[in-house]
């Protein structure tokens, strides 16, 4: 079953408290299943730390999908053609859907949609730092598809094998749709690169601004990543941050060549001995500053998100009132 809300409707807290000092027999069964690369389902016993890690990761992931709608949503009314507009609307709609799959997966762990939205809207919860940078020109939309979604795919493909069933199923669905996102972005850039000098310069400018932010999307280096080891042991994380980042660089360099843009890193070069591309230092101080809420768009994104939610309140109220009225009418007719 995808959700466990029908099992623990209102007393999820109580149930959680009682399982935290569960006998070691349950713990052994959990460990054995993880060891055998099996899947954990919502009703199975799991250690509190495993549950907490998943709630944090899945809700952050969901928030990223929802906030990710904003930088691109800004360009829907300014897309250069009806075709690009239709594509962009479809993509932004997909992101909303991805947010829903992920919120649903997180809800199976005993958290509620309200709790998660509260976390996002109050600024307590984090989301991907990449969305706190502005989308200055149309090429940014293409680069988001090519590089940002490209980096997200690298991250998400291993998550399809995550040990937590609902999360892995959500990721399979997301990955199926994500491929369109990357390809549409890359193709939009290919078209621009066949245009005027000014258009080509726009593409290069967007790549220059977003390249390093995309590399940072994979998270801190393995040496500075405290949660990684436990996540790996639990089968939540399958490939380390640095390994994924390297895969992304190796995959992207030839794509940049075909596109005809350069990547803004003087240290980027093929290393024959390693069989990989070497790349330069990422500015982690800048990354953490953005994560802490001081990036160029943090405040604007959050304010837009909260406003959209509040502006939709009357729709939710009306739907609720209508449902109630229909129910009352049905009951009266039956009586």
């Amino acid at each position: 079953m995808y959700t466990q809300a029908m099992d623990i409707p209102d007393e999820s807290g109580k149930k959680l408290a009682s399982v935290s000092n569960a006998p070691s027999e349950q713990e052994a069964a959990f460990e054995a299943r993880i060891e055998a690369d099996g899947r954990i389902e919502p009703q199975d016993w799991m250690p509190e730390a495993y549950r907490k890690t998943l709630v944090r990761q899945i809700s952050q992931h969901a928030h990223s999908e929802i906030v990710g709608m904003l930088p691109e949503g800004n360009w829907i009314s300014r897309a250069p053609s009806l075709k690009r507009k239709a594509i962009l609307i479809a993509k932004v709609q997909d992101e909303g859907g991805h947010g829903l799959y992920l919120y649903s997966a997180a809800e199976t762990l005993g958290t509620s949609r309200e709790q998660m939205l509260e976390g996002l809207h109050s600024g307590k919860a984090k989301y991907s730092s990449i969305f706190n940078y502005p989308t200055l020109n149309w090429a940014d939309v293409g680069v988001i598809g090519w590089l940002v979604d490209g980096a997200a795919i690298m991250n998400q493909i291993p998550l399809c094998r995550c040990s937590y069933g609902p999360y892995s199923r959500a990721m399979i669905r997301v990955c199926k749709e994500e491929s369109f996102h990357q390809r549409q972005g890359y193709e939009a850039l290919l078209v621009m690169m066949q245009g005027s000098e000014a258009q080509k310069a726009m593409v290069q400018d967007a790549v220059n601004r977003l390249w390093w932010k995309c590399l940072a999307m994979f998270g801190p280096p393995d040496a500075d990543s405290p949660h990684s080891a436990q996540g790996m042991r639990w089968g939540i994380k399958r490939i380390s941050n640095d390994e994924l980042r390297q895969k992304f660089v190796d995959a992207t360099v030839p794509q940049a060549k075909v596109l005809g843009v350069t990547l803004p890193d003087p240290d980027l070069k093929w290393n024959e001995a390693r069989g990989h591309y070497d790349y330069g230092q990422i500015d982690w101080a800048e990354f953490w500053n953005t994560v802490e809420g001081n990036g160029p768009c943090n405040k604007e994104r959050l304010a837009t998100r909260v406003k959209a939610h509040n502006d939709g309140q009357w729709v939710r109220d009306a739907a609720q009132a209508y449902a109630r009225k229909q129910q009352e009418r049905a009951m009266k007719e039956a009586a």
């Binding site: 079953m1 995808y2 009703q43 809800e107 949609r113 609720q320 449902a323």
Partner: protein, 98 residues
């Protein structure tokens, strides 16, 4: 920030029939005020790429699920009844496919 309406939207399980002739398969869940809205939202969320020809939505609260702790008693008794499988029976080769 409280959103009372959202809090009261019940959870629905979504089942989609991908093709005429196939069964409805569980594909996820969503919150909606009533069945009509749940259907509408399920269409938008789960069938944007012709994934379905029919949708069922069921209030999650209406589903009775087996308890994972009862897995042993519920499913084990079948394990030693291997005579329920066709491969239990040896048939002479000259009989051919049966």
């Amino acid at each position: 920030m409280t959103t009372p309406a959202l809090k009261e939207w019940p959870l629905w399980e979504v089942f989609v029939r991908s093709k005429q002739g196939l069964e409805h398969k569980h594909c996820g869940s969503l919150h909606a005020a009533d069945a009509a809205q749940a259907l509408h939202m399920a269409r938008d969320v789960y069938t944007r790429r012709q994934e379905g020809v029919s949708i069922w939505v069921v209030p999650s609260a209406s589903i009775t699920a087996s308890n994972p702790d009862d897995k042993g008693e519920l499913f084990d008794p079948a394990a030693d009844k291997i005579y329920r499988h066709p491969t239990f029976y040896e048939i002479p080769e000259e009989v051919g496919h049966m």
